[in-house]
């Protein structure tokens, strides 16, 4: 196995490679380094959040340009009309499902809380849409739309929230905490943020050992990315050249903490530089940008060129979960992003810009989505609660419970000729 050259230019290209790095003795200009961080956005919001004192209390305040015009959707390099409409439909389903969940909550049918991806539907749906069937993904809490794109039903998620026997985890876990390694290649998230990233890298490693370069897509928030394990995972994928596609959901807030208090660089995509992988920025409210960047990353992965970090800039348009009214968020920030609602923008693009959807077709689509969600809701509501005893069993994988075999075929082994020899070398502690 050859390892990359330490000096000299990097081979792969669509990311932040050092463009120009002149080293001249003693010349202070030599210290300038240039990196490419493609930025697909058509606007660059310019404001920031601060803690300020107001009498006895501290509050968050936003300062900057909050009245800038809403940019157009960026035409996709790849998506055709049909695909755009399909993504749009998933985004509608995503939002409508979450509205249904909110209602179920109000009716007392949900156990625990509800998490929303409001304002982030483009990011969830268009990214998942960029995967091929054999690729893998793992959602975070705001990616309930990704689940729909990957073929789960709205009722799956609804039953998870209602802790029903029919839920994918049979009541044992809630929210989007479920997985499917057989058909949909989804790894279940856990609550602890960041741990999925090395795991997904490991999925790509396993597939590669079986002869397949798959893309493994997962997400991390602007808050969750502060965990150390996030970077252990990115680095592992980087040195092993694994097809990790990491979408950083830069949505201004981590629970009540603004991203200004989470990190000090300007854009999280800049962190890709230190890992020697491409970093890309997109407008997370623009489905076409999200798709294009993800698709390019997925293709890199399929070519065996390794990991990509995509920072999607957007806003969490509700509180952390349903209990949280997000009163700490300065209202102008909501207003700014409300004008950039990903569904409204995409609808405008399809109905008014491209005219790929007539008003009638659009209305029909919305009605169809309503109907689907209503039907899914019925299924979910009618699923029974699990029995108490169903808490038992399954701690271990017992005999006959699973037949384990390599997903993409038996690894081809290239064995060296060396046989087994006893070892006698010096060791660490005797």
């Amino acid at each position: 196995m050859a390892i990359k050259k330490k000096s000299g230019s990097k081979a792969s290209s669509n990311g932040n490679r050092t463009v120009n790095k002149a080293h001249t003795n003693g010349n202070r200009n030599s210290s300038l380094r240039q990196y490419e961080i493609p930025d697909y956005r058509l606007e660059h919001p310019n404001f920031s959040v601060h803690q300020v004192r107001k009498g006895d209390e501290m509050r968050y305040e936003v300062t900057g340009d909050l009245d800038t015009p809403v940019p157009p959707i960026r035409d996709s390099k790849y998506l055709d009309k049909k695909q755009c409409i399909e993504i749009y439909r998933y985004m509608l389903l995503n939002r409508r499902m979450e509205t249904a969940l909110e209602n179920l909550y109000k009716q007392g049918k949900v156990v625990g809380g509800v998490y929303f991806g409001l304002g982030q539907e483009a990011c969830s749906c268009a990214s998942a849409y960029a995967l091929d069937k054999d690729d893998w993904f793992a959602p975070m809490i705001r990616n309930q739309g990704s689940l729909l794109v990957r073929g789960f039903r709205a009722s799956d998620t609804m039953m998870q929230y209602m802790a029903k026997a029919g839920s994918p985890t049979k009541g044992r876990d809630g929210t989007s905490h479920f997985g499917d390694i057989e058909k949909r290649n989804m790894v279940s998230p856990i609550s602890m943020l960041g741990d999925l990233i090395p795991v997904m890298s490991g999925v790509a490693l396993g597939a590669r050992l079986q002869g397949r370069d798959v893309a493994v897509l997962t997400y991390i928030g602007d808050g969750g990315q502060s965990t150390g394990v996030t970077y252990e995972g990115i680095n592992f994928a980087a040195v092993q050249n694994l097809g990790l596609v990491l979408i950083v959901e830069s949505n201004e807030w981590a629970y009540s903490t603004p991203s200004e208090m989470q990190f000090k660089c300007t854009d999280l995509a800049e962190r890709a530089i230190g890992y020697g992988i491409p970093g890309v920025i997109v407008d997370g409210t623009d489905a076409c940008q999200v798709y294009d960047a993800t698709r390019e990353a997925v293709e890199r992965a399929h070519r065996g060129e390794g990991a990509t970090m995509i920072e999607a800039k957007m806003m969490r348009m509700k509180g952390h979960a349903i209990h949280d009214a997000a009163t700490y968020v300065p209202k102008p920030l909501f207003d700014f992003w409300k004008r950039r609602d990903p569904i409204a923008r995409f609808e405008n693009y399809l109905v008014r810009e491209t005219k790929w959807l007539s008003a009638k077709e659009n209305a029909d689509l919305i009605a169809e989505v309503e109907k689907i969600i209503e039907a899914e809701r019925e299924i979910a509501v009618n699923s029974p609660m699990p029995t108490p005893e169903s808490a038992l069993g399954g701690v271990y994988c017992e005999d006959g419970c699973h037949a384990i075999k390599p997903k993409y075929g038996m690894p081809k082994v290239r064995k060296g000729s060396g046989g087994f020899k006893e070892t006698e070398a010096a060791v660490h502690l005797k």
Binding site: I190, M192, A254, S256, M261, Q262, M385, P386
Partner: protein, 324 residues
């Protein structure tokens, strides 16, 4: 005396220590303007400022490490875990850095790690855990699990004043469900001392945290059967109050150990071994364990209920043991 919730008692305890001692400060995720996921530090930042009520990035090892570093300069940090389920994210920092410091190189580390733990609120497998045993099995730490508002306030104050690293498990089921009398004068509850919360003569239930309340409920039922239950609330699970444990066993000769976390490797084992050592001859029946199941805590209410110890289970086991 005021009637306070368990949560208010903890809030007051930390608040008072911050008023009293400028070296006390708080750090954690969302503890500032938001006041913490459970509002334990609600209003603190307004009073004490952003310097002493620090909203951190989501990085538990950094939070514990920074708290420890600050403690080495003579500060008394109080670090919040948003949920105690996330404590393994800082495991090495706690186990190998914080806990071993005083033994190895003699530096005291007066810090408190605190946060909500426990089930009965349908929090699911990642928001219901009781990971205290890992720290009981980790010399150098004090591990505190209060059951009442009075103890919670007195123990959080004691923990903040203690010169050792203390892990303070707040039971989230109790936060707003129980109220109790809490004096307005300054007081502490000593760390390492258990408390008889109900005197009795027929059998002892040794327990702590939310389970104290289940034991009390069960005792009321058992009274009607003529079974007179003594309940020992451990309050601190490390170091354990050996004398109090031995004394109640010597008195009643029969013992149930009740805890919420999974059975295998749980605290009941340690206590069983202690009882064998201290009061083997006093035992008139096998030591009975009532505990959570050996699995993750399932989410769905019927499953969670099945997983967790129930009052009915305590009643049944007590009847059997009495009859032994």
């Amino acid at each position: 005396m005021a009637q306070l919730t368990y949560l208010e008692a903890i809030r007051q305890g930390i608040w008072e220590e911050m008023e009293r001692d400028p070296t006390v400060f708080c750090l954690g995720e969302d503890i500032g303007i938001y006041g913490g996921a459970f509002k334990v530090t609600d209003g603190f930042i307004g009073r004490f400022g952003a310097e002493r009520v620090i909203d951190t990035p989501i990085a538990e090892s950094a939070i514990v490490g920074a708290a420890f570093g600050a403690s080495l300069t003579g500060m008394r940090p109080v670090a919040e875990f948003q949920f105690m389920d996330f404590i393994p994210c800082a495991m090495n920092q706690i186990s190998n850095m914080v806990a071993k410091t005083h033994y190895l190189w003699g530096a005291p580390a007066p810090l408190v790690l605190r946060g909500p733990s426990g089930g009965y609120v349908h929090g699911g497998p990642f928001h219901s855990q009781n990971p205290e045993m890992w720290f009981v099995h980790n010399p150098g730490l004090k591990v505190i699990c209060p059951a009442t508002p009075y103890d919670a306030k007195g123990l959080i104050k004691a923990a903040i004043r203690d010169n050792n690293p203390c892990i303070f498990f707040e039971h989230k089921y109790l936060y707003r469900r129980i109220k109790g009398e809490v004096p307005s004068e300054d007081y502490v509850v000593p760390i390492g001392k258990a408390n008889i919360v109900r005197e009795g003569s027929n059998l002892s239930i040794i327990t702590y945290a939310a389970m104290v309340h289940s034991a009390l409920e069960a005792a009321e039922v058992l009274k009607n059967d003529g079974i007179d239950v003594e309940i020992l609330d451990l309050r601190t699970v490390s170091p354990l109050d050996r004398e109090a444990i031995a004394a109640t066993v010597r008195k009643t000769n029969k013992v149930i150990i009740l805890h919420e976390h999974s059975r295998t490797g749980g605290l009941a084992g340690e206590i069983a071994a202690m009882i064998n050592e201290e009061a083997f001859d006093s035992l008139d029946g096998p030591i009975v364990r009532i505990t959570g199941l050996d699995s993750a805590v399932p989410f769905s209410p019927p499953q969670e209920e099945f997983f967790l110890p129930k009052v009915s289970e305590i009643v049944n086991e007590a009847r059997k043991l009495k009859a032994y």
